[in-house]
């Protein structure tokens, strides 16, 4: 009888419930055809860089490969983060999952946290797959040319930066999902918020749109400036992680607060 089941309010119980939701979300994300379609398009774009290298605008060939590949991953990753987050959230809503899940002794912030953790794990896999393709393309060309451009350490750092950025886009989309009525609206609004995050650095230069400065600056996670300096230094990486953690916490907290007041 349920009288025997205690409602466990400990942090361990919260983590356990979030892990269950995250595992479920990850499983669903890996079965999402849209996600793998976008990964396949991204991989094709990265591979295309090999044939587009003649149009390198005077840049070094290996630099062009890295720039084009990272650009493709950045574009497709942003799309992936927004679309997969919205799709996973609204798949649940359309299936009446809140009725199954939220009527159990799980807090709504645990549900949102678990969902975000699942999306973050799925994004790690997607980014890993795309970075692997990019690393292979660059390594093959380096061998053909007998030159070295990017070390494995730098490629891993670029992958980590991309992942940090995409998880922020996922958190922005989750914030929209917490009150939105459709996946189309949530993914479109999530993408618009991501664009605002990319344009955020211009507000500092122009001194206009001061309100936008409260929004995370996604350009901080762009790989290109770091490539010139052969990677990210330990201190800069830690500062970036701190910046990311602050905004991820704020966005996820706000999403959980809004979701707490939603009725089904």
């Amino acid at each position: 009888m349920a009288e025997c089941i205690l409602v466990c309010k400990s942090a361990g119980a919260s983590v356990r419930r979030m892990r269950l939701v995250a595992g479920q979300a990850l499983g669903e994300a890996l079965h999402l055809k849209l996600g793998w379609l976008l990964v396949a398009v991204g991989a094709a774009l990265v591979l295309m860089a090999r044939w587009l290298r003649d149009f390198n605008f005077g840049a070094m060939e290996l630099k062009f490969l890295a720039d084009f590949g990272l650009g493709a991953i950045g574009l497709l990753g942003t799309l992936l983060a927004a679309l997969v987050t919205a799709q996973l959230f609204f798949n649940d809503l359309e299936r009446g999952m809140p009725a199954c899940v939220l009527t159990r002794p799980i807090r709504r912030w645990e549900y949102m946290g678990g969902k975000l953790a699942g999306v973050m794990a799925a994004l790690a896999l997607y980014v890993g797959a795309l970075m692997f393709v990019l690393a292979v393309v660059i390594a093959v060309r380096e061998r053909e040319l007998g030159a070295t451009y990017l070390s494995l350490r730098v490629i891993l750092q670029m992958g980590a930066l991309a992942w940090l950025k995409f998880t922020l886009v996922a958190a922005m989309t989750l914030l929209v999902c917490s009150y939105a009525g459709s996946a189309l609206f949530a993914s479109s609004a999530g993408l618009l918020l991501a664009i605002a995050g990319h344009l955020r650095s211009f507000t500092e230069a122009s001194g206009q749109f001061a309100l936008l400065r409260a929004w995370p600056n996604l350009a901080k996670f762009d790989a290109e400036p770091w490539l010139a300096g052969a990677g990210v230094g330990g201190g800069a990486l830690l500062a970036l992680i701190g910046y990311w953690a602050l905004f991820l916490g704020l966005l996820a907290g706000l999403a959980a607060y809004v979701f707490e007041h939603r009725e089904f």
Partner: protein, 255 residues
Amino acid sequence: MRELSEVSWAIELENFGKCHRVGWTGRRAVAVHPLSLKVARGEVWGLLGPNGSGKSTTLKALAGLIRPTSGHCRIMGHPAGSAVARALVGYLAESPQFPPHQTGRDYLHYCAGLSGVPSRERAQRVAEILTRTGLAAAADGALATYSKGMRQRLGLAQAMVHEPAVLLLDEPASGLDPEGRLDLARLIRELAGRGSAVVFSSHLVTQAAAICDRIAVLSCGRLLAAGTPAELLGENARSAELSPLEKFYWERVHG
């Protein structure tokens, strides 16, 4: 916290009312007018009424999915929607859908985990509930291959997997064949026999009369009548568990 055994009523609705805001103007639409009901432990209540009568809204409020606009809903003395109340409730939504790639067994493991069933007991509890709901043979098949009736049975299984003290079922007979409906009736009576309070909504008046200890009739969000089937329907309330057509079907299918 009060001991659950000290609480006399499993469910208490005290002047529960619900209004929805509709459209851009935020116009208030009344879903349920103030309604008071008390359900004892081990009692089976049927909520009957046409579409839009407020049955699902009442069940959702008890499950904690919506908040009352007025009044109170309590589960074993705890406010509906609180973590303790949710631990005591099993809820089946109308026409439930499930992740198509998962198996029935995996899905029930997930639900049992969220409900706080200890991991060492989970496998046994899931196997038991799969047998009780007649899904044991299909337990390891992908949910995408489940028929509507099987999904409904799985919905029942997920609501009962943690052996709740209060079971809330929204149209549980929807999509079930006559055999499934008899199984459902048996399951509901079995749960009530173990001390659980069961409240379900239905359009099937004869079935409700056969299963329920008490019936509440709702229309347009108002409680029209409440009482035992005998009080409401007279002596013929429990005369037939199956309609003549159902009896014919049963005899043909099961010899």
